[in-house]
Amino acid sequence: MLIQAFLQLTPSVFTIFYHYALGKTSKKKADDQSLSFILGVEIFIAITFLITYIIIAFFIAEKDFMNSIFLWILSGIFFAEGIFILCCYFKNGKKSKSTTKLFIPRSIAKSFIFRVEHAKNRSDTIALGFITAASELLFILPLFIISSIQIFKLSRNSGFIFIIAYIIIATLPLFAIRTAYRTDHNFAEIQRFRVKRKLFFRLILSLGFIAISILTFISGVI
């Protein structure tokens, strides 16, 4: 779950969203809207995690599906994502060196910025948070699958606590950015901080995915 906290699309959209909200409305309203954005992200994580858990629990309980081949395929997916993050997560090139541009197509990035600029009310903001989190599904779905497999082994109460902890930890970066804005840091300072630590985020993410890949492979062997 810590790995998801290092993904960069949602924090990037949130950073520019809060900045725009400060520019268009009052500090109090921007702060309220930021909570709506975070709520949208949390709703997406909760819904998708629960659906994934139900499907995995069905396959484990009813179909006895958790065989080695499935775990090896999952391990392969994690490994591929780890390598992809290491090579391509942030855009390479001279022009992208001092930015946090991601691998996503420019048209999609522009549509996010358009949505940020035109989010007017609470429902727009919640939807923006939801869609932003959904855009990282490629990376977070395997994390949900492996977490669901682990939760299935826990008791009901422990599983519930695990899911709540997952949602909170996954949205910690957004709360950190919100706190930074509330303590009078601005977009330029926050963005310079993120650009400086770009390599750190990339390494943590890729090593995390590769480590999960190895652990999943080993559990498939055992």
Binding site: L9, S12, V13, T15, I16, H19, Y20, L22, G23, K24, S96, S98, T99, T100, K101, L102, I104, A109, K110, F112, I113, D184, N186, F187, A188, E189, Q191, R192
Partner: protein, 80 residues
């Protein structure tokens, strides 16, 4: 001659960034006015002015008045 539409949208955008950066409205308007004037002066003799040329020159001029405003204007569409 810079397109009026481009100038209007740039000024509006810069005012939003300045407000978000907590720059007083009066000072922000001064910075923006002076930077745009200097930009027009620099690009006056060019036959063709692209949006990229305009943005690059404006950022250079803005840096003389407020580093954070220039940085924000340069990078707000390069964050995702």
């Amino acid at each position: 001659m810079l397109e009026e539409k481009l100038l209007k949208s740039t000024v509006a955008n810069l005012k939003i960034h300045a407000k978000a950066l907590d720059i007083p409205a009066g000072s922000a308007e001064e910075f923006i006015k002076k930077s745009l004037k200097a930009t027009e002066k620099v690009l006056k003799n060019r036959k063709v002015i692209t949006e990229a040329d305009f943005k690059r020159t404006l950022i250079k001029e803005l840096k003389k008045y407020h580093q954070d405003l220039a940085y924000t204007y340069e990078n707000y569409d390069k964050i995702i």
